[in-house]
């Protein structure tokens, strides 16, 4: 097992290196750079020397390979460089926003699990009844409704019926847990509902499959109560594919965060990313892409680990 974990962790390094090379090259191959954009924004005339000075300051006059090595060496020391737009260290810019985004991601995942597993299991048990149809339509709708629109509708409802607007500043969980949770539960719902859709369908089909197994018949035959059969025998064995799906759908979560933070005006990583892209802040974009790819790959690795832990057949392979 320890050998397996080590191998998987080491395999992540070439992938991440590939991601770094790809994103670095992509961002520099195409025309248009931040220095010109900055001057265009102020509307003032920019002499050539000023542009050159600015480029030298940002390190853009260095050859590509030198820029790349500086960046990679920095990252291995957890220093992402400085933002080309604000001039602040990127590690700092990310650090002040990471707490919010991670908390939102965790809450959305909880929302998704709380929706998908009970509903999916219920639909499977009541297969082909109106409950089943309702759950299926609910989950298909979850895939179709854009999370940013759901977020807008939530805000609309609050504004119209309760005269409540989402607060403009973020309260940390450690400062005031209640204010923090009331602030984040709505974006978490908007993201989590969409996130739950695929998992609900997966739970339903996995439970349906397990319910046909021999050991379920045995469990019923020995007189176990239906609840015990369902929870201890069926659900436990159906959970494996559900966990896999929740891990794979992490991409949805990222997408949901990017747009929902925008709607709720939350200053998180997603908002930072959109801002960095519209400002052509290369160093910021490449660092954030690398960070999300790392988290994405790491989550997939964790899912495999959890699967191996839960399923002895995988563990002893």
């Amino acid at each position: 097992m320890r050998h397996y974990i080590l191998k998987r962790l080491l395999l992540m390094i070439p992938t991440l290196f590939g991601v770094a090379v790809l994103i670095f090259l992509l961002l520099r191959v195409l025309p248009g750079d931040i220095v010109e954009l900055k001057y265009a924004g102020t509307g003032s005339y920019a002499p050539k020397e000023a542009l050159a000075r600015e480029r030298a300051q940002l390190g853009l006059d260095q050859p590509l390979w030198k820029q790349f090595i500086t960046w990679i060496v920095g990252i291995s020391l957890l220093d992402f460089g400085t933002s080309m737009w604000t001039g602040q260290p990127i590690t700092h810019e990310i650090a002040i926003r990471l707490e919010l985004s991670i908390e939102l991601a965790v809450m959305a995942t909880f929302v998704a699990i709380l929706i998908s597993i009970p509903l999916g299991a219920l639909a499977a048990v009541k297969q082909d009844t109106w409950i089943d149809y309702f759950v299926r339509i609910f989950s298909i709708a979850g895939l179709a409704i854009p999370s940013f629109w759901l977020a807008i509708v939530i805000i609309l409802t609050f504004v119209i019926y309760f005269r409540w607007l989402p607060p403009l500043t973020f309260t940390s969980l450690w400062v005031d847990p209640k204010a923090n949770l009331t602030q984040l539960i709505w974006p978490a719902l908007a993201v989590g509902y969409r996130y739950s859709a695929v998992a609900t369908r997966m739970t339903r089909s996995a439970v349906l499959e397990v319910l046909r197994e021999d050991y379920i018949r045995t469990a019923r035959a020995k007189g176990l109560r239906e609840n015990a059969v369902l929870i201890r025998h069926a659900l436990k064995n159906a959970l494996l594919p559900v966990i896999t799906v929740i891990g794979l759908e992490f991409a949805f979560l990222v997408g949901g965060l990017v747009v929902t933070e925008q709607v709720f005006n939350l200053n998180g990583i997603g908002k930072l990313f959109v801002e960095a892209i519209s400002q052509r802040d290369y160093t910021m974009v490449q660092s954030l892409v690398l960070l999300t790819s790392f988290i994405f790959i790491f989550v997939n690795f964790l899912v495999d680990l959890v699967n191996a832990y839960l399923d002895p057949r995988i563990r002893f392979q």
């Binding site: 991601v19 790809l22 298909i140 709708a141 179709a144 409704i145 805000i155 747009v259 990313f273 892209i277």
Partner: protein, 298 residues
């Protein structure tokens, strides 16, 4: 003599049409949900094509005398902060959504299928290299990759199509490759190789037609996602720009600003996106069940 030759030439054509109709009827009977999806898609395509006839107003002309009017018999879905008819803009928005959706899905699925089949046909080093590259693209979350492409190319309809295409290619390549791997060992491919056909001919004429099922499945699965992705990009201000009518654009800015006074501005475009994606999803699901129930999508 001439009578029989006429008969043999018209018969296959007629029976092909009959078979096609019969298949459609069977699909409708067995998968009513999929048929409903197809019907909604049909209506949307018709509305997009006939936007000029169907919609009561001009989508671009502003009218400050009729700003933020509530839904009425004159303006079914109300008017926006520029006095433009929301219903008209939704109809014209379906043009943008469908064009971007179809173009990017077709492009993404076709490129993916080509790469998948090529990769499976050559195997060995080429396969390994292509697969590593696809894995690399897959290690970006969908929206992140699309956002990066937009940031490189800038916004605008063509660039958005390209931005949505890029993350779809590796997903289709993955699925098509696994189907094509089995094809490679089939006797007819071996026969084609024995006849001395080159790789290009074998890939295009012999292998590609036989991965039609996964190709179509991926294509329809992408359509809903593409429309959703376009709406998200546009909503973030990195997609289609004003004054083009696009659903994501209608939800941006003013819709939230005037939420209290004019909730219809935010309500109807979102419903349009949801309905479109819903229709494509249930149609795609049914098509997958009908063509290849065992295929698993990434």
């Amino acid at each position: 003599m001439s009578r029989t030759s006429v008969k043999t030439s018209t018969l296959p054509a007629a029976s092909r049409l009959d078979r096609w109709l019969e298949a459609c009827l069977r699909f409708t009977r067995q998968r009513p949900l999929g048929a409903i999806g197809a019907a909604i898609i049909g209506i949307m395509i018709a509305a997009a094509l006939l936007a000029g006839f169907v919609s009561p107003y001009d989508p671009l002309v502003t009218n400050y005398g009729r700003m933020l009017q509530a839904p009425s018999s004159l303006h079914w879905f109300g008017t926006d902060s520029f006095g433009r008819d929301v219903f008209t803009r939704i109809i014209y928005g379906s043009r943008t959504a469908l064009w971007i959706g179809f173009a990017s899905s077709l492009l993404g699925a076709t490129l993916g299928a080509l790469i998948g089949v090529t990769s499976a046909y050559f195997s060995g080093k080429i396969d390994l290299m292509l697969q590593r590259f696809m894995d690399l693209l897959l290690s970006f979350p969908l929206i992140i990759l699309a956002l990066v492409v937009v940031s490189l190319l800038g916004s605008g309809i063509t660039n958005v199509i390209f931005a949505i295409t890029v993350p779809m290619v590796p997903r289709c390549a993955l699925v098509v490759r696994s189907s094509a791997l089995a094809l490679r060992e089939m006797p007819f491919v071996e026969a084609a190789r024995a006849l001395g056909f080159g790789p290009l001919r074998i890939i295009v004429r012999h292998m590609l037609p036989n991965v039609m099922a996964p190709y179509l499945i991926m294509l329809t699965a992408f359509l809903g996602q593409a429309i959703l992705l376009e709406a998200s990009l546009t909503f973030l201000g990195l997609g289609v720009a004003e004054p083009t009518a696009a659903w994501g654009l209608m939800l941006r800015g003013a819709a939230v600003e005037f939420a209290e006074r004019a909730p219809w501005m935010a309500l109807f475009p979102g419903l349009a996106i949801s309905l479109a994606v819903f229709a494509f999803n249930i149609f795609g699901d049914s098509l997958r069940d009908a063509l290849d129930p065992k295929l698993r999508l990434p």
